[in-house]
């Protein structure tokens, strides 16, 4: 099953911490029996409203191949990760994969 995962990381992370968080998320996926098809980092972006007193965040969008039963586990891990402000897992129809270029604001 193809899913899309978007998550927002805390803006206070430095480059190293962000990289290690991204690695951690990748590991969540592979440990759950999935694989990352595509990874897109949007960089720091303004949030439309503050989340956890942050007005910015690092956006990442991944396309992942994951067994449906593993989604719960992935979501649980993301919820427990302190540096992830928000995440969103959506189902993607593989026939309709379109590339939306990330729009940079600011």
């Amino acid at each position: 099953m193809l899913y899309e995962l978007m998550y927002i990381a805390r803006p206070t992370l430095d480059e190293q911490a962000l990289a290690s968080l991204n690695d951690k998320v990748d590991k969540f996926i592979t440990n759950a029996g999935g694989q990352v098809v595509k990874r897109e980092d949007w960089g720091k972006r303004r949030l439309a409203y503050p989340i956890a007193k942050c007005t910015e965040g690092f956006y990442s969008v991944l396309h992942i191949q994951l067994p449906p039963t593993a989604v719960r586990e992935l979501e649980r891990n993301l919820k427990l990760a302190e540096d992830v402000l928000r995440y969103l897992v959506t189902k993607v129809d593989p026939r309709l994969v379109s590339d939306t270029a990330p729009q940079q604001e600011q």
Binding site: M6, I8, L47, A48, Y49, I51, G57, Y59, V61, R86, Y87, L88, T90, D93, L96, S98, T100, P102, Q103
Partner: protein, 114 residues
């Protein structure tokens, strides 16, 4: 209430094309005047392009379907079909969840609103 500008007064005036008529009736709508459902049926903007999915990451597109306050515009204003309005609403709600779109604005932007 008939709009006198678009309605021909005598038989000699050529009838305006249905397309321009539809445009006029939305632009010239006065506040307080009820809008009349006699325009020719318009195809939903998404049906026109046979849109299959609406991406929640496409902020530019979604923003077009929000009011200044950040609310989702009703179907009667934007003319989408039920199916696409539903897809649109879902996409907007997803975008809001990940803070790509606001839940509310105005209270944050305009300081005058207190």
């Amino acid at each position: 209430m008939e709009d006198t500008k678009t309605t021909p007064t005598n038989g000699t005036t050529p009838k305006p094309a249905p397309e321009s008529r539809a445009k006029n009736s939305t632009n010239n709508r006065r506040p307080g005047v009820r809008f009349q459902a006699q325009r020719p049926p318009r195809l939903c903007p998404f049906c026109e392009q046979k849109v299959k999915t609406i991406d929640y990451k496409n902020v530019e597109l979604l923003r077009h379907y929000l009011t200044d306050h950040g609310k989702i515009k009703p179907r009667r204003k934007v003319g989408t079909c039920a199916k696409h309005q539903r897809m649109l609403a879902n996409a907007i709600k997803r975008a809001r969840h990940v803070a790509l779109l606001p839940f509310v604005t105005q209270s944050l932007r305009g300081e005058s609103a207190s």
